[in-house]
């Protein structure tokens, strides 16, 4: 009970682990490119939570600063990623990544 009520580092890490797992699952299994992007966002958020948690319990500012940069990065990534998805769509008339297997050849 103590473990449940005394919110510590492990709680946050658990949340981030779950988010990471879901994000990874999305990236791995979903065919829709948009959903894959969403999974990526989940992973990034999981990382952010970790950064901030460690920062909080360490008393340093590095985690905060990094999570800030991660957010910036995520914004850039989302923009470019979506642009790519749209281009893919233009070319293949689909965002089904399983259909886009030209790398096979």
């Amino acid at each position: 009970m103590e473990l449940l009520t005394n919110i510590g580092l492990n709680h946050y890490l658990t949340i981030s682990a779950l988010l990471f797992g879901f994000g990874l699952f999305a990236v791995m299994t979903r065919k829709n490119a948009i959903v894959i992007l969403m999974g990526v966002e989940l992973i990034l958020n999981a990382a952010n939570i970790n950064f901030l948690a460690f920062s909080k319990f360490n008393g340093g500012m590095e985690g905060v600063m990094f999570s800030l940069f991660v957010i910036v990065l995520a914004a850039a990534e989302a923009a470019v990623g979506l642009a790519i998805v749209i281009n893919i769509y233009k070319i293949f008339r689909s965002v089904d990544v399983s259909a886009i297997d030209t790398m096979k050849e």
């Binding site: 890490l13 658990t14 959903v35 939570i49 920062s55 008393g59 905060v64 910036v72 979506l82 769509y89």
Partner: protein, 173 residues
């Protein structure tokens, strides 16, 4: 704010975050996923507040919810006809994916809980860190900051270039 309230609120937000994330992943409908993602972001932002990172939480809401999520929705709309009934997405690698999900999460949790050697500092972050962020940004992290700005610029241009409507380009393919 006493401890019990704090714990309760924490769990609520944690649940929101986790469950909405699960919904994002498991929902067959892309639109639903997108909206579930909104909640995930909010939950995460709340958790940031708990972690004394109020500025980050605000940024999270502004950037993710205001920017990325809208972007994603536009992406959904661009690439799927909303009127079309089949907005569902198929899945593949479900078995290995699930397996990996379990293993990864299990592994991570196992690691977290068995390590037990986290040594939290005596001094934890307290209160708002906005001011310190400002100082850090302009002192120790000025170089990453500038690089981030260049990255953003590059992403801006790149995204604009990639996504622009190019008739000739189109025709070629």
């Amino acid at each position: 704010m006493n401890n019990a309230t704090f714990v309760t609120i924490f769990y609520i937000f944690a649940a929101i975050t986790v469950f909405s994330a699960a919904f994002v992943v498991f929902s067959k409908n892309v639109i639903y996923s997108a909206f579930a993602l909104l909640f995930t972001f909010f939950g995460a932002a709340a958790l940031y507040v708990f972690l004394s990172a109020d500025f980050i939480a605000v940024t999270q809401i502004v950037v993710y919810v205001g920017g990325i999520l809208v972007l994603l929705l536009f992406g959904v709309m661009f690439t799927n006809s909303i009127m079309q009934a089949d907005l569902k997405t198929d899945v593949l690698h479900v078995v290995p994916g699930t397996l990996l999900l379990v293993v990864t999460v299990g592994g991570l949790l196992f690691t977290f809980y068995t390590t037990g050697t986290w040594k939290p500092s005596e001094v934890q972050l307290q209160g708002s860190v906005v001011e310190r962020i400002g100082i850090e940004t302009m002192s120790r992290f000025v170089l990453p900051f500038e690089m981030a700005s260049i990255l953003l610029l590059a992403a801006l241009i790149g995204a604009a270039f990639l996504a622009r409507y190019d008739n000739v380009h189109n025709n070629e393919h």
